[in-house]
């Protein structure tokens, strides 16, 4: 066991898989010699050669499109979209092609590819380095959408994604790449090394897709979240004094409905957190599912605490980001309802 940051854990997942399977290769903008702008692919070119880890032209459509062709050939490409905000040029290839090739060819062709992209705010990245576009993927039949919250999960989930025979969108919460940010701006950020989930095996292991993780058991309400917001949820729970059950969904599509049902039916209250804009965010789907599956157990309206329906504002990102005080307000509303 080593202590790893999320970046190191992701790098270790790629390293592990590239060592095990020559079909695994990785490319993207600045991914090769430089090792990626966040260093997730560092040393892989050195270790596996330029043909297995290389730079791509700045054309996300081409990155996704060529990766689809490679996957169809029989490789297992892992591509990096430098920031999730720049996935839009690739969107057609991902939703109209990768997602549908198995279906439209009736299993004749398949696309085992993984699309990594750092997402989310909190790094003063402005409108185009802060977005959380997960709902644009969860609406698409044929894709899976995965978001880890810790180094341990990041490695295990990425290995599962690479081994999955369907295309997986793998969103990486960049705000917690180097440490578990909990939304409290006034306290020093804790390094990953102080967090138990930074204990990461060097070798191969998997965390199954589609399984949520109950990161805190509780009885008074259920908080559904993923990525960076899991840590913020824990901080809000601590600060609120409310005994919330905090669920890290880990996979958004297919979501672990059993975990959600069991928890909300137990607690009777539900707060949903995400960084993305509110309207038609993934929280809407969660709210719809919760009320469909737990209607008779609900004692209060389901609350959504989310990014606002505005572009991500550079200087006001701490007003925009759903921090513990805003979450606690929603938790209290849910408790008092």
């Amino acid at each position: 066991m080593a202590t790893m940051t999320m970046i190191q854990a992701l790098n270790s997942a790629l390293d592990t898989m590239m060592a095990r399977d020559s079909r695994v290769l990785t490319f993207g903008e600045d991914v090769g010699y430089f090792g990626g702008v966040f260093k997730v692919t560092e040393h892989l070119q050195e270790k596996y050669g330029a043909k297995r880890c290389f730079d791509a032209p700045i054309n996300e459509c081409g990155i996704a499109g060529t990766a689809i062709g490679m996957a169809v050939y029989g490789l297992r490409p892992v591509i990096e979209i430098q920031f999730a905000d720049y996935m839009y040029p690739a969107y057609d290839q991902l939703v109209s092609e990768a997602a549908r090739i198995r279906y439209r060819s009736a299993n004749d062709f398949t696309v085992p590819m993984t699309v990594r992209m750092p997402y989310g705010g909190g790094i003063y990245g402005g409108q185009t380095h802060s977005q959380s576009p997960e709902a644009l993927f969860t609406h698409v039949a044929g894709l899976k959408t995965v978001i880890p919250a810790t180094p341990y999960d990041a490695k295990g989930l990425l290995i599962s994604a690479i081994e999955d025979d369907d295309p997986v969108i793998f969103l990486e919460p960049k705000r917690v790449y180097n440490g578990p940010f909990d939304g409290r701006r006034d306290r020093p950020v804790i390094p990953w090394s102080k967090h138990p989930a930074s204990e990461v095996p060097e070798g191969y292991y998997k965390i199954p897709l589609g399984k949520a993780n109950i990161v805190r058991e509780g009885s008074e309400m259920t908080i559904l979240s993923y990525g960076t917001m899991v840590h913020v949820a824990l901080a809000a729970t601590e600060d609120s004094g409310i005994d919330a059950e905090v669920i890290d969904l880990r996979t958004l599509l297919p979501v672990d409905i059993e975990a959600i049902k069991t928890s909300v039916q137990k607690t009777g209250r539900c707060v949903i957190l995400h960084e993305a804009t509110r309207t038609s965010g993934y929280g809407a789907e969660l709210a719809a599912l919760v009320q469909e599956h737990c209607f008779y157990h609900l004692e209060a309206p389901i609350e959504r605490v989310t990014g606002f329906d505005t572009p991500y504002p550079h200087a006001l990102e701490w007003e925009y980001f759903p921090t513990p005080p805003r979450i606690i307000k929603a938790m209290r509303r849910a408790m008092e309802a």
Partner: protein, 410 residues
Amino acid sequence: MSRKNALDLHIPAPNARPGDKPNFSGWTFPEPGDTPRPDIDASPSELRDYAYGLIRVLDMEGNALGAWAPHLDPETLRRGLKYMILTRAFDDRMYRAQRQGKTSFYMQSFGEEAISVAQSMVLSPEDMCFPSYRQQGLLIARDYPIVEMMNQIYSNKRDPMRGRQLPVMYSSKKDGFFTISGNLATQVPQAVGWAMASAYSGDVRIAATWLGDGSTAEGDFHAAMTFAAVYRAPVIINVVNNQYAISSFQGIAGGENTTFAARGVGYGMAPLRVDGNDFLAVYAVTQWAAERARANLGPTLIEHFTYRGGPHSTSDDPSRYRPADEGRSWPLGDPLERLKQHLISIGEWSDDQHRAAQEAAVEQVREAGREAEKDGVLGAEGAHSAQSMFEDVYKEMPWHLQEQRKQLEV
């Protein structure tokens, strides 16, 4: 606003609209046989002029001329002709089947048969083709059963695509034929990626892909050209310039002042421009490009200059936007007639044989049609279970699809 030196917006317009005389006076073509054949290892910069010429082998009397003549044996030529005849007979029947309400949609390749048939014959069956919707000739020349194509078109119970795809959107991995997409040009970067994967794997197989003149405008084409040039992917990118994109002429796609082969020049990619109605010329340039790719010398962009003889699809009537007789006056003729003439002129074919071949093709198609219709046409009850709709979305069906499937059962 109208001022001195005022700017003005240019909107390209074709030479002729319905009611006008067909007018191809803008085009000039080199003589058949005049274009030299460069070595396959020529550098892209040495090849620039090929983007602006037109490689022709057959003259209008059926003689094969010049360095590009592929010198095929008569048997190969006859096979090529028969595949073209079959393709046309197939198109003809399927077009009518749609009109008869047996399916929702059809697209012919009328006038463009030489391209897919010749190219299919040049490529190895192990190579992977990433076609658009107008390369049915690829499958036919790979002896893919036309009854299977009909099953797909009818979405009937033996449809290999299980009723999921619009007619003509075939897929056959074992025949090196990639599942066709309705979204234009998406297949082009995929073909490049497949070719890169083949090179990555030290394989010997190459990829080929096809798109229309209109589709070159899509961003995916640029992505594909860029990646193919950068990584020198072993791929042949075929632009089938049939001069139309539904109703709009090729000037709207950017062909008013240059050729589509010239796009290749921009990326430093080998560009060839060929008479797409000349079976021999298409055969020869494809051989050249395939050899080049197999020798690790990188991609080739081929513009096949042709004319879309029919409507865009069963959904449009071309006489609404171009002279109804325009196709007949296309100076480079009909690809079937031209190969037929060549075979006759070398004493390897006759009008009688031709008529017999046409009849045989019509009969073969009729026979296949009967067989396919036994398994139903579009709309036949029970061709596919509603349950099947939920399969193959993922390898394993997740809970929410299981639940939706159950909902439908109830």
